[in-house]
């Protein structure tokens, strides 16, 4: 590109003083080759500069400063490896469902598929897992979107919710620590890990939030409770993937072409804690989501923009939707359609599934008519295990053409829809089916 007038001129996104490089396509290719290689591999190993916050957490516990909510044998943990080869303990039983507001509000098939799968594996509600009303959002969507909130408020919310998880078993006759939190949302997951780090590192922060927790009556022996691990639901799905496939799978999905979108707040925020598995994508990329798709026997198809964000943007999905939809169509939907010719895109998070699912129709206005069914890994798994597409997987809330996936799996969408509409009549008459005894949900007062 020439600039005959020699006017100072910037490139969008690079600051006013940046100029075009005027490289030929070949030169540009060469110049960016190194960056692409870096992005594609686990070469971000920062070696000894990376500290494992859990080491400091154990020291604080030894000094009597905090209580660590431990993962015991009763939680039936499975050990996995994270980005730098560190161990992470994933509890597989006695789980406290820490729900996601975006999932529950918008993609309810996410948590229902998860609980349905747990039931299928023989987990007993009230003993092996608990879903209750005494919990709040992590408030991090709001924080990352608006800047309202602060480390202290995020920390107090984190400790309040996790304290509740710690004591939640009491009313059912279990010991403290019986239920271990399983965090459904990747933003909550990333945020809680970040906040745990700050809490472990900063004594003044601990002091300040301790005062708040004391006022709420949420200290144990005068101490704050910090979880041994922060565990995402996709971590659980990942370590249970072979059990899910071998014990529950009913439908052959080897004809399904699957692309996976890895959530930024799972793999890029406190990235040292994300699961990497040598058996999944050569251990080069975070393993969750892809691992379950492979275990079910689906064809996992790679695509060039796998590393990109979905365009959610926290505030952008609300108030700068042009960005959100342009990014998601250009960098995700279009690529998964044209390059990978996929049957679906699986997500492991709330914002990504919402963004990619809801922002396809608008593409028509820009002559970008690309469609791609979007759902969560666990929804796909539940379908493969024979769950009802509407009653359990709740695909009726999705805007993208998820019925195509259902049909390709050999299930009649029309029949399922008819069954569901008949069920709605029963619901109206008060005949509701539950995944667990609804009395278990009423945790706290009022």
């Amino acid at each position: 590109m020439s600039n005959p007038t020699n006017e100072p001129r910037g490139i969008a996104g690079h600051g006013a003083f940046f100029q075009p490089t005027d490289l030929s396509p070949e030169q540009a290719e060469k110049a960016t080759e190194w960056v692409r290689k870096q992005v594609d591999r686990r070469t971000v190993d920062l070696g000894e500069r990376m500290d494992d916050v859990r080491d400091h957490m154990w020291e604080l516990e030894k000094d009597g400063e905090i209580i660590v909510h431990r993962i015991t044998d009763a939680h039936k943990p499975v050990i996995v490896k994270t980005l730098f080869g560190w161990d992470k303990k994933i509890p597989t039983s006695q789980l406290w469902h820490h729900k996601s507001c975006g999932q529950c509000g918008n993609i309810p098939g996410y948590p229902t598929s998860l609980l349905w799968t747990m039931n299928g594996l023989g987990m007993v509600p009230g003993k092996d897992y608990l879903d209750e009303t005494d919990q709040t959002s992590c408030t991090a969507w709001n924080y990352h979107g608006s800047g309202i909130g602060n480390v202290e408020s995020l920390a107090a919310v984190f400790l309040r919710n996790f304290h509740q998880a710690y004591v939640s078993g009491k009313r059912l006759g279990h010991d403290a620590g019986h239920f271990f939190p399983l965090v459904h949302c990747a933003t909550s997951f990333g945020n809680y890990k970040e906040i745990r780090k700050y809490l472990v590192e900063s004594a003044p922060l601990r002091e300040r939030v301790k005062k708040i927790l004391a006022k709420l009556g949420r200290l144990v022996d005068g101490k704050i409770v910090i979880p041994e691990e922060v565990v995402h639901y996709s971590d659980w799905v990942h370590v249970m993937r072979n059990d899910i496939a071998s014990k529950l799978q009913k439908i052959d999905v080897s004809n399904m072409r699957v692309t996976v979108h890895m959530a930024c707040h799972y793999s890029k925020m406190v990235h040292e804690d994300a699961i990497y598995d040598p058996e999944v994508l050569g251990g080069n990329r975070a393993a969750t989501g892809t691992g379950i798709a492979q275990a079910l026997g689906a064809q996992v198809i790679d695509y060039s923009t796998w590393y990109d964000c979905c365009g959610f943007g926290f505030r952008h999905i609300i108030s700068e939707r042009e960005f959100t939809r342009s990014f998601t169509i250009d960098r995700k939907i279009k690529v998964a359609r044209e390059e990978a010719n996929a049957d679906m895109m699986l997500g492991i998070d709330t914002g990504c599934v919402t963004t990619m699912d809801k922002n396809q129709w608008i593409g028509k206005a820009h002559e970008q008519s690309y469609t791609m069914p979007i759902m969560a890994d666990i929804q796909f798994a539940a379908l493969a295990c024979g769950a009802d597409p509407l009653k359990i997987v709740q695909l009726q809330w999705h805007a993208s053409p998820c019925e195509d996936v259902v049909e390709k799996m050999g299930i009649s969408w029309a029949d399922a829809k008819k069954r569901f509409e008949a069920y709605l009549e029963e619901v109206k008459a008060g005949k509701i089916e539950y995944l667990y005894d609804p009395k278990l949900a009423a945790s706290a007062a009022a």
């Binding site: 996104g13 690079h14 960056v35 709001n142």
Partner: protein, 231 residues
């Protein structure tokens, strides 16, 4: 337009956040952060530029960037995962946003106006989002078929087989005690103060709401006491 002294004060506020030293460790000016940044592809925004401004303590341009640029960031933290210096440009932006709010900057007020509904929901219920906020008329760009089965929202929510999810005005049922605990957190951490600076009307609505809920909870507690005495 702020005076130079005010700009210095704003910069000092950013720098004194205890996360600052975590998030900024130097800068190679390599641009890896910008190369992987989704917002850099759409806006006149560059995480590298933000980091450079802070690193070189360019208080005037920092102030400028806080007028608009910092709100372009999508907070995906791709930059943080890639930076060879272990910086977090996205984390620095989060600090700058907080400071913009603290100083009541007009840019922050403008940007946050459409966020009022989420804020109201969050502060009063402890939930950030609810099914009744995601109705087709709020999101015409999501298309006419954002749901595959139409019907009364209440009934459709009742057909979700989890008791906690059978709600319409919160994402899940949040107990009153839980919400009341949240109010204490908001108060004690200065979040209500932030809100007051940003949007006084919204703050007033929220204050009234909180008061009402607290009374409701106090009544409920009293009722429990009475029941105990009767028993």
């Amino acid at each position: 337009m702020a005076t130079y002294a005010e700009m210095v004060e704003i910069y000092e506020d950013i720098k004194s956040d205890f996360r600052y030293d975590h998030e900024l460790n130097g800068c190679l000016n390599c641009g890896i952060c910008t190369a992987t940044c989704p917002s850099a592809q759409f806006y006149d925004y560059s995480p590298r530029e933000i980091v450079q401004l802070l690193w070189t303590e360019n208080v005037e341009q920092i102030y400028d960037a806080m007028q608009e640029k910092i709100w372009a960031c999508a907070q995906c933290m791709t930059c943080a995962a890639r930076c060879p210096f272990k910086n977090s440009p996205g984390g620095l932006v989060a600090i700058m946003r907080e400071v913009a709010i603290k100083h009541g900057m007009q840019s922050a007020k403008d940007v946050l106006r459409p966020f009022g509904r989420v804020m109201l929901k969050l502060i009063t219920t402890g939930n950030q989002l609810s099914p009744d906020m995601i109705q087709p008329d709020h999101f015409p760009d999501w298309g006419p078929n954002i749901q595959k089965v139409s019907g009364d929202l209440k009934i459709l929510r009742k057909a979700i087989p989890m008791k906690t999810l059978q709600t319409t005005d919160t994402a899940w049922e949040v107990s009153l005690k839980t919400s009341v605990e949240m109010y204490t957190i908001w108060e004690m951490t200065g979040v209500l103060k932030q809100l007051e600076t940003m949007d006084e009307n919204l703050y007033d609505v929220i204050e009234d709401f909180i008061e009402e809920k607290r009374e409701e909870y106090a009544d409920w507690l009293e009722e429990q006491e009475d029941n105990k005495e009767d028993a």
